[in-house]
């Protein structure tokens, strides 16, 4: 082969490589774009009196990815104001689904509910391709499939970048892992001039103070290999509420434990909201086998059914902190635990603080939800007036 021929072959090979690379980039780019741009419709239920934006409490959030919707469900009667946070970690889908179920179904008859479905919305616009996370998941309803973005634990680097070498939590000065600056459950109480999640937490704190929120409930899910699971984590101001709810639910519906928030662990809702406002805070954890490191195929089926033979085997070997059998942990049971725990918190709250009641109609019981599925509680966006649909 002559030298010039060799050169031509090399150029052709390089060109082919470039074309292949460009094709992959276009394919991936389109997929990422579709995921980030996907809008989840939410039908405003009978209790919703307004849909506001987080920037209304902290203007600099306007136009950012984390300027999330805040649904107001106001009974118009005096009582407690309770803020519910879904989607703190968008890789925990029972959290945004439970929050959405509240928005579509809850009707307060005293007091007021504030609900964020995607507390860290930026984190719901990125997933984890390196761990084979599905981009989307769908919930079956009577009127068709309802499609959702599967998210990650931390905000999208497109919205918050670069991360610091070490994340020094404000104001405690505690050193945390660098990527935790994009994990909104490590950035409370936030600061106005920080990075995106610090500013988002700060916006929520402003809301909590201005709206005189009495209690914040933060929904989560956890892997069965993690010891904080199937439990309520309480700021010490709410420890008796948590103990009563835990005792009652464990005796009557399902086992749920209780932990008191460690005083020296910073950045979390159950610590900082209680310390930096008049509100108190509870965090609920439900079991999500999808998050376990020992899981098998990482797909939508596992996300929604929670059935996994490898996680089961880990359970048999005594490696888990929570039981699992061949029935797994289906999404309707996980959402059911959050909704039933929320209802029980309201009940106990009213008994402890009868002068500031919260009463909410329209929420399904644990048994009903587990039997009918989550989709049974989501209305068809096409069946209602346009101004009764919001988008996430």
């Amino acid at each position: 082969m002559k030298k010039s021929e060799q050169g031509k072959t090399l150029i052709a090979a390089k060109a082919a490589g470039l074309v292949a690379w460009a094709a992959v980039m276009v394919f991936a780019g389109v997929a990422f774009r579709q995921h980030r741009a996907w809008k989840e419709p939410v039908v405003l239920g009978p209790g919703v009196t307004a849909v506001r934006s987080l920037h209304e409490w902290f203007a600099p959030l306007k136009g950012t990815e984390n300027d999330c919707n805040v649904y107001v469900l106001d009974s118009g009667l005096p009582g407690s104001t309770i803020l519910v946070l879904g989607g703190t970690h968008p890789e925990e889908p029972a959290t945004n689904l439970a929050a959405e179920l509240l928005v579509e179904n809850a009707k307060p008859t005293s007091g007021k509910l504030l609900v964020a479905i995607h507390t860290n919305r930026s984190a719901s616009t990125v997933t984890r391709p390196g761990e084979a996370y599905p981009q989307f998941y769908s919930i079956k309803t009577a009127w068709g499939q309802k499609k959702y973005r599967m998210g990650d634990r931390s905000a999208n680097p497109l919205d918050s970048w670069p991360d610091p070498e070490t994340y020094v939590h404000y104001p405690s000065g505690q050193m945390l892992a660098y990527m935790d600056i994009r994990n909104i459950n490590r950035t409370w109480p936030g600061r106005p001039n920080g990075l995106l999640c610090e500013r988002t937490s700060y916006g929520f704190m402003q809301m909590i103070r201005k709206e005189k929120v009495d209690l914040v409930i933060d929904y989560h899910e956890a892997e069965l290999e993690y010891p904080v699971i199937g439990t309520i984590v309480a700021h010490q101001k709410a420890q008796e509420v948590a103990a009563m709810v835990s005792m009652d639910l464990s005796a009557s519906q399902f086992r749920i434990g209780m932990e008191v928030s460690p005083r020296t662990l910073h950045g979390l809702t159950h610590r900082e909201i209680g310390d930096f406002s008049d509100a108190t805070a509870l965090l609920f954890e439900s079991p999500e086998p999808f998050l376990d490191r020992v899981r098998g195929a990482t797909n939508e089926a596992l996300l929604l059914t929670g059935v996994d033979e490898f996680v089961q085997r880990a359970g048999k070997a005594g490696l888990l902190y929570w039981p699992i059998d061949e029935k797994g942990w289906p999404i309707e049971v996980r959402v059911g635990r959050h909704i039933a725990t929320t209802s029980k918190v309201f009940e106990v709250w009213n008994l402890l603080y009868p002068e500031k009641p919260i009463a909410v109609d329209g929420l399904p019981g644990y048994g009903d939800l587990a039997a009918k599925g989550v989709g049974a509680y989501f209305a068809d966006p096409a069946s209602v007036a346009k101004d009764r649909v919001a988008f996430e």
């Binding site: 103990a243 005792m247 009652d248 005796a251 460690p262 005083r263 020296t264 009940e347 009868p354």
Partner: protein
């Protein structure tokens, strides 16, 4: 659920204090639960127990909060002190000390306490109690979820043999450790299946 509505109305009328109403609610619930559950057998040779009670947890587990809520409900005077010391015990005429075993610190980092300090604190507390005629109950009320690691084990094994009475969650006794210790040390023992069982047990074992 009917009972709750009645209690609700009573609360709004402003008669009983909120906490009493709340606790009455749990009592009503416990009665329902107890109807179906097996009786928690009371052992022979129970110590004579009275309030007021000092509750503390060796390892900062939340078990003490459950016990405090139960005490309020059955109208037993009780103080929960996270860091109770010999001085705390002397500050009031306590008749019973309840030490809760099992630790916090599960995946949430340090609670800011060293377990060895906790064991030292509680051992001294028990010693002082025994010297002053205060009865000591050592209780594991959270079952298997509070017996998962070495720190739970240390908390349990250092406190359990010191008790005048053991209250143990059945799910914590899978290896028979509590039964064996009770037999060896001749400590009377009560088993529970859930924390709500204490609502009916306490009135039987404490005299007013």
């Amino acid at each position: 659920m009917r009972s709750i509505r009645i209690l609700d109305r009573a609360a709004r009328a402003g008669n009983p204090p909120a906490i009493a109403v709340a606790l009455a609610f749990i009592a009503a619930f416990a009665l329902c639960a107890a109807a179906g559950a097996q009786q928690n057998a009371l052992p022979k040779g129970l110590p004579e127990l009275k309030g007021p009670i000092l509750i503390t947890a060796c390892g900062q587990s939340p078990g003490g909060v459950y016990v405090k809520v139960v005490c309020r409900q059955v109208k037993l005077e009780a103080d929960l002190e996270e860091t109770a010391t010999v001085q705390t015990l002397g500050a009031r005429a306590y008749k019973t000390l309840i030490v809760i075993t099992g630790t916090s610190l599960k995946g949430m980092g340090s609670a800011g306490v060293e377990l060895s300090d906790e064991i030292k604190r509680c051992t001294e507390l028990v010693k002082k109690a025994k010297a002053s005629g205060v009865k000591v109950i050592v209780a594991q009320v959270e079952g298997a979820s509070r017996r998962v690691d070495e720190s739970d084990e240390q908390s349990i094994r250092s406190m359990t043999p010191l008790a005048d009475l053991l209250i143990t969650h059945n799910q914590a006794n899978k290896d028979g450790y509590f039964t064996k210790t009770a037999a060896e040390k001749k400590i009377p023992q009560i088993f529970i299946d859930q924390q709500l069982d204490l609502v009916k047990i306490f009135p039987q074992i404490f005299s007013k």
